[in-house]
C-alpha cells in the first residue's frame, strides 16, 4: 500500500497546522497526507481537536501556522476552487430550519458550477427525503443525509465529514459506509471523516489519523495502527517499572492492569520472557489491540503523563 500511495497525488496535505485558543487548548503541529482514492478516519476523544482541524481545512477558523493543501491547492489562497471540490457534512445541520428540502437545493445549486440536479434527486430518492419537508421536520439522521446529498451532488473530489454517523442507526451507518466506498472507487476521490464509532473505521477506513489533546499521535495505514501496539495484561503485583517505563497508557483495576505498549518496545519487558526452557513462566500476556483500546489507554492519566514526558 505504501508504494502505491507514495505515487498518488494528495487529496489533502496538512503540514504543521497549529491553532492556539485563549482557553489554553492548542492543536499542535499537525502533519499528515491523504492520498487520492482513499478513506481516512480522523479519530480521537471529545475535545481532541478533530473539529478544529476540519474547521481549519475549511478556513472557518484561522490557523496560527502551517499549511493546508487540498488537491494541491492552498486552502486560503485558492479558497473558491478548493471549496468547489469539497463536499462537507457536519454533525449538525447548517441549513436554515424553515427551508424545505427543495429550498435547500435552490439555495445550494447556484453555489456550485458542477451542481447536478439529477444526482441530487437520485440521492433524495435513495435516502427517502421528501422535497416538501422542512429541515426542522427531519430527524437528525435525515438532516445528515440531506447534507450528504448536497455534498455528493457537485462532483466534489474530497468529502470532509465531521461525525457523520453520530445520528444514524446501524443500517444507515452501513449504507453511508457503502456510499463512501463507492464514492472513492474511481481512485480520484477521497474521504476524510471524523468519528467516535470505531466499527465504521474497521469497515471503511484505509488510513487513520489519531489526535489526542491537540497532538498528532498516529497517522498511517489502518492496519499499521493496530499492529504497532500490543495490550500487556497482568495481575496487580506485575506492574513492574519496566512495564511502566515503556507503556504509553495504563489502566489499573482491582484484579490487574492493561498497559498499551508499542510493539517495538515489547522486548524491553522482562515479565513477557520465559525464564524456563520447558514452561512458559511469564506472568504477563501481550495481546493484539483494538482501536478502542488504543484510544482508551492513550487517554488515561498515565498516558497524559507519558506524553508530557515525551
Amino acid at each position: 500500500m505504501t508504494t502505491a500511495t507514495d505515487q498518488s497525488p494528495m487529496a489533502l496535505s496538512i503540514t504543521g497546522a497549529t491553532k492556539h485558543y485563549d482557553s489554553g487548548f492548542t492543536l499542535d503541529d499537525i502533519t499528515f497526507d491523504l492520498p487520492a482514492g482513499y478513506i481516512m478516519g480522523l479519530i480521537g476523544p471529545n475535545g481532541a481537536g478533530k473539529s478544529t482541524l476540519i474547521k481549519l481545512i475549511l478556513n472557518m477558523i484561522h490557523r496560527d501556522s502551517g499549511e493546508i493543501h487540498v488537491l494541491g491547492l492552498d486552502n486560503i489562497a485558492d479558497e473558491e476552487t478548493v471549496k468547489e471540490n469539497l463536499g462537507v457534512v457536519f454533525d449538525s445541520s447548517y441549513f436554515i430550519e424553515t427551508w424545505t428540502v427543495n429550498k435547500v437545493e435552490q439555495a445550494m445549486a447556484p453555489m456550485y458550477l458542477a451542481w447536478d440536479h439529477a444526482t441530487f434527486d437520485g440521492y433524495l430518492t435513495r435516502f427517502g427525503l421528501d422535497r416538501k419537508k422542512r429541515v426542522k421536520e427531519l430527524s437528525r439522521g435525515m438532516q445528515m443525509k440531506l447534507m450528504l446529498a448536497v455534498a455528493l451532488s457537485h462532483d466534489a473530489k474530497l468529502l470532509v465529514l465531521d461525525e457523520p454517523t453520530s445520528g444514524l442507526d446501524v443500517l444507515a451507518r452501513d449504507e453511508l459506509m457503502d456510499i463512501l466506498q463507492n464514492y472513492i472507487a474511481d481512485g480520484e476521490r477521497s474521504v476524510l471523516f471524523s468519528t467516535h464509532i470505531t466499527a465504521d473505521l474497521e469497515r471503511a477506513a484505509d488510513f487513520i489519523t489519531y489526535i489526542t489533546r491537540g497532538t498528532l499521535y498516529f497517522t498511517g495505514p489502518k492496519d499499521e495502527f493496530e499492529e504497532s501496539f500490543r495490550l500487556v495484561k497482568g495481575g496487580p503485583e506485575d506492574l513492574a517499572p519496566d512495564v511502566k517505563g515503556v507503556a504509553v497508557g495504563i489502566h489499573r483495576y482491582e484484579t490487574g492492569f492493561d498497559a498499551l505498549v508499542r510493539a517495538e518496545d515489547l522486548g524491553k519487558i522482562a515479565g513477557l520472557k520465559a525464564e524456563d526452557g520447558r514452561h512458559w513462566m511469564a506472568p504477563l500476556t501481550a495481546e493484539p489491540v483494538s482501536i478502542d483500546d488504543i484510544i482508551r489507554l492513550t487517554n488515561t492519566g498515565d498516558a497524559a503523563h507519558a506524553m508530557e514526558v515525551a
Binding site: 472557518m60 436554515i96 447556484p110
Partner: protein, 239 residues
C-alpha cells in the same frame, strides 16, 4: 470575483426570504397601496406620505439584517464556511442586498410621496419629490452603514441595542450641547439658527445638483467606510 459576489448575494436573498416571499411583497406593496386607497377615499391626507415613508424605511432597514438573524439560527453560519465564496465576497454580497433594498426604498418613497402630492394638489412637484427620495435614501444609507458593522461584530439583538444606545446617546449629547449653549451663550443658538436658515436659502438657490451630489457623496463615503470595517471584522471572525 463576480461569481463569488453573485453567489453571496443569492444566498443572502434566500436567507431573507426564508419565511416566504409573499409576506415581504405584501409589506412592500402595502404602503403605496394604502396611500392610493386612502387618498382615493378621502381625497388626500397630508400626513400619509410621511407615515408611509417611515413604515417603508423601517421595514427595508430591517429586511437585509434578517440575513444576520438567520445566520445566528442553529449552525447556519457554518454554511458560510462550506460554500465556495470568499469572506470578502460574502460581505460585498450583503452590502449589495442593502443596495438593492435602497433602490426599492427610493421607488417606494417616490410612489408614496408622488401619490400623496397627486391627491393633495393634483400634480407632482418633482423637485420636492426628488428631495424626499434623496433624504430617505441618504438617511437609509447612513443607518445601514452603522448597523451592518454592528451586526458583524455582535449578535443581531446586541447590534440593535447598541444602535439604540448610539441614537439615544447622540440625541442626549446634542440636547446637552444646546442646553449648555442656551444657558451660557444664548446668542450662539440664534446665530446657529440664522446660519442654518441662510444655508437652506442658499441651497434652494443652487438647485438640486449640489444637495444631490453632497447626499450621494456622504452616503457613498459612509458605505465604503462601513464595508471596510465590516470586512475587517468578518475576516477576523471564527465560526
Amino acid at each position: 470575483m463576480m461569481i463569488g459576489i453573485r453567489r453571496a448575494f443569492a444566498l443572502d436573498v434566500r436567507r431573507i426570504a426564508s419565511q416566504g416571499v409573499f409576506s415581504i411583497l405584501v409589506l412592500l406593496i402595502g404602503f403605496p397601496a394604502a396611500i392610493v386607497l386612502l387618498g382615493s377615499i378621502s381625497g388626500g391626507v397630508s400626513y400619509m406620505p410621511g407615515a408611509a415613508i417611515g413604515g417603508v424605511s423601517a421595514m427595508l432597514a430591517l429586511l437585509p439584517l434578517n440575513a444576520f438573524t438567520f445566520e445566528q439560527q442553529g449552525h447556519n453560519n457554518w454554511m458560510n464556511g462550506v460554500v465556495p465564496v470568499r469572506r470578502i465576497h460574502q460581505v460585498i454580497g450583503r452590502y449589495l442586498v442593502v443596495g438593492a433594498c435602497m433602490l426599492i426604498l427610493a421607488l417606494e418613497v417616490a410612489v408614496c410621496v408622488g401619490a400623496g402630492m397627486v391627491f393633495e394638489s393634483g400634480k407632482i412637484q418633482f423637485s420636492a419629490l426628488a428631495i424626499s427620495v434623496l433624504t430617505a435614501v441618504v438617511m437609509y444609507a447612513l443607518l445601514e452603514s452603522v448597523m451592518l458593522p454592528l451586526c458583524y461584530r455582535f449578535t443581531y439583538q446586541k447590534a440593535l441595542l447598541t444602535m439604540m444606545l448610539i441614537c439615544i446617546g447622540l440625541g442626549a449629547a446634542i440636547a446637552a450641547v444646546f442646553a449648555l449653549f442656551a444657558k451660557l451663550a444664548p446668542a450662539s443658538i440664534d446665530a446657529l439658527m440664522s446660519w442654518m436658515v441662510s444655508l437652506a436659502e442658499t441651497m434652494s438657490g443652487v438647485g438640486m445638483f449640489w444637495p444631490t451630489l453632497g447626499g450621494v457623496v456622504l452616503a457613498a463615503v459612509a458605505a465604503i467606510v462601513s464595508l471596510a470595517v465590516s470586512s475587517r471584522i468578518y475576516h477576523a471572525k471564527e465560526f
